[in-house]
Structures are given as C-alpha cells and as structure tokens.
Symmetry: C2
Subunit: 221 residues, 2 copies
C-alpha cells in the first residue's frame, strides 16, 4: 500500500509487435483473462514498475506475455485520454516493435493465456483504445519505410530481395516495381551479397543477402 498527497495516474506500456507472414503484415495479440474486456484481444503490455525504465518495462512485458525478445523497439506515442480505462486513470506509453519473419519465439500454446498473430487488415475487436494504437503504429511504420532502412528489421539472417520486397508490399499495401526497388535498395549499400543461393520451388534460385548493420536503422534518400 502506498499513499500520496495527490492522486497519481497508473502508467502502462503497450507494445504493437509486427511481423510479416504469408506476405501479410501481422500483429501479435493476447487474449485478456480478466475484466475489463475479459476474453477480448489486446496488445501485450502492463504496468510499469516503480523503478523501471519505460523501455525496459515494455521489453519485460513483451517477454512475459509472449515470450518474444531481442526485437527492434521504438517509442510510438503516449495515450492519455482520461477515460480510456474504466477502472482508473491509466496513461499508456505505446511502443512498436518489429521481429523477423521467422524469428518468432512465441510462448508455447500450453500457456494459460491465449496469444496469436492477426493480420493487420483483419483485426478482431480490441480492448481499450488498442485499435487506435495499432493504426498509428502502422502509419508510422509505413512512413518510416520510405525514408529509412527500418524494413531490414523484419529480415532474418539471410534473405532474398524478393522477400524484402514482400515486406514493403505488405506494410504499404500496394505492389512495388521489382527493378526500381532493387536498384534503390542496393544503392543504399546496407546489405551484403553472401554469394549463397536458396532453392525452393521449380524456378531459378534466389541470391541471399545479409544486413550490414543489424539493429541499426539509417535514414535514406
């Protein structure tokens, strides 16, 4: 029990974690076990510990609730409408995170709490104002694709240019010209040709690339 002279809002972090699966932008959601919004899907997140850095809290919650760690994380926006939580005044500092296409390490389904990836284009009913948070995160991400190398945060260790192109198409929701795309991305000089190729299917194999500075997002253009 703690007592203050003036009332204090509660502070939470919420994390919009994105990945690309089957050419679609997806968001990881957890099903709430308690009221309010019991059995509704919601963003992973929770209360910030009193001596914990905000970003550390976001990473901790993400790990605890979904098992995901080692992701690219960036602060998105702070949502503070007085009635956004029916229990008490809760201000949430929202973050967004990107994880590689196959870099998922989701908590086993045996866990009590249900979690799952949902296509951004087909989200279920969401708790609180989490729909607004996800919408803003997608906008920020789409904007950032056009002036930074943030898309590389979606890529696993080795990847083909076609896979990278799919990331752009999935986030922006529109097709991209293959030749112009490759010319532009290669001009950024942010990837190394490994010399290896990957065969999968009855067609010419793709060259594989690696990211030159993993974890670093550079501004371009």
């Amino acid at each position: 029990m703690v007592t203050y002279q003036h009332p204090h809002p509660a502070i939470t972090t919420d994390i919009v974690i994105f990945t690309i699966q089957d050419g679609q932008l997806k968001v990881l959601l957890v099903c709430r076990a308690n009221d309010p919004f019991k059995d509704h899907w919601a963003l992973p997140g929770g209360f910030v510990e009193i001596d914990e850095h905000l970003e550390a809290g976001a990473l901790r919650e993400l790990k605890e609730e979904t098992g995901v760690s080692g992701v690219y994380l960036e602060q998105l926006y702070t949502f503070g409408k007085p009635d956004r939580d029916p229990r008490e005044r809760v201000i949430t500092v929202a973050y967004y995170a990107l994880t590689p296409i196959n870099g998922l390490n989701i908590r086993a389904a045996s866990d009590a709490r249900q979690i799952g990836w949902f296509a951004y284009a087909k989200l279920p009913q969401l708790a609180f104002d989490h729909k607004d948070i996800i919408t803003l995160a997608q906008q920020r991400l789409a904007a950032k694709l056009s002036y930074s190398t943030i898309a590389l945060q979606f890529m696993p260790g080795k990847f083909s240019l076609s896979e990278l192109q799919q990331v752009y198409e999935a986030v922006q929701g529109s097709p991209v010209d293959k030749r112009n795309f490759r010319k532009r991305l290669l001009a950024y000089d942010c990837m190394t040709d490994t010399g290896e190729v990957r065969r999968h299917g009855k067609h010419r194999p793709a060259r594989l690339y690696t990211v030159k500075s993993p974890g670093k997002v550079e501004f371009v253009k």
Copy 2:
C-alpha cells in the same frame, strides 16, 4: 490523500515552446522557485490532473506559467528514466509548441516567477533532463521543416517571404538560397498573396502573404 495497492509514478507534462526572434530560434524558460533545482531555469510544465487529458494539461500549464495560449502543440516524446527527478519517480510527457514571431503574450514581468526567452544556441544550465528534451524537440522541428509546412506556425497573420526564409535559416542553422526557397514554398500552394506590401527601411517593400489553412500542418514533397 490517496492510497494505492502498488506505487504509481507521478506524471508531468513539459512544453518546449519555440519562437523566432532576431533571426534566432528561441525557447521559453521559467525559473524554478522551489527545490529541487531551485533558481535553475526549466521548461514550463507540471503535474497532470487526474481527470485531465495530457494535451489539455500541457496547454493549462503553459497558460498558467507563461500566459501563452493559442499555440500549435504536438506531442514530442515521453521521458521515463527512473531517476530523472530526485524526489520521486516522475515520468514526463514532453510536448513542443510553436508561436508566431510577434504573437507573444507573455505574462507580465510583475509575476513572482521569472520567465524569459533564450536562444537555442545559448541555453543556460537547465533543471532535470530538460536539456535533452529541448535538443530532441529541435531535432524534430528541423526534420519536420523539410517535409511539412510546420514553419508556417511561426508566422503572424501577414508576413513576407524573407521573414519565412529567416525561420528556416534560424531552425536549420544554415543559410538558404533565396530563389530556390521561394520557388519551392510557392509551389506548395499554402500561402496567399494579399497584394499588400510592407515598407520598413530604405529599400523596396515586401509583398505580404497569409497562410491558407492556419493551424494545419501539411506534408509536402
């Protein structure tokens, strides 16, 4: 007195309010009357009321502490290092604001609390992590000049293109080519030529323009 089961951090807003004076980017600071950092300069700001929207709190604090109102306001970032305030855990949601060159309506000097405009390039010692907040705000502002019409928020009702150019030069800290600048800004089609001119000094008078959509910031380029 309020009691909670778990400790809650305190929430404040801080506002970096910019203007342009004498061709320089300036920030409005208030001198702290109490510990901690008594007699140090600090950003205007303060605790968020329990039922108050964050943005409303920022505007209220700005008005109370400096007398400034009717400004363009945008959320900047939330600063949450556990030890940023020596008293207790305080998380601050920082905003930045722009006010026209001559649109100042600062609280009379008769007020107990001392306030003043400081050149961004020559800031005094600042309380808390307010230096970091101002630095981030300037970066955001400078970046935003290049892809939006945010600079118009600095302009009074009628202004000349030379005055607008001075805004760009002051924020970016580097000179701008006059012909290219005018070509680009006029192409954005965000200003109206009033047909009026202003004489001040022994030289050709300048045409005066008005902003087409005051208060609106559009993305360009």
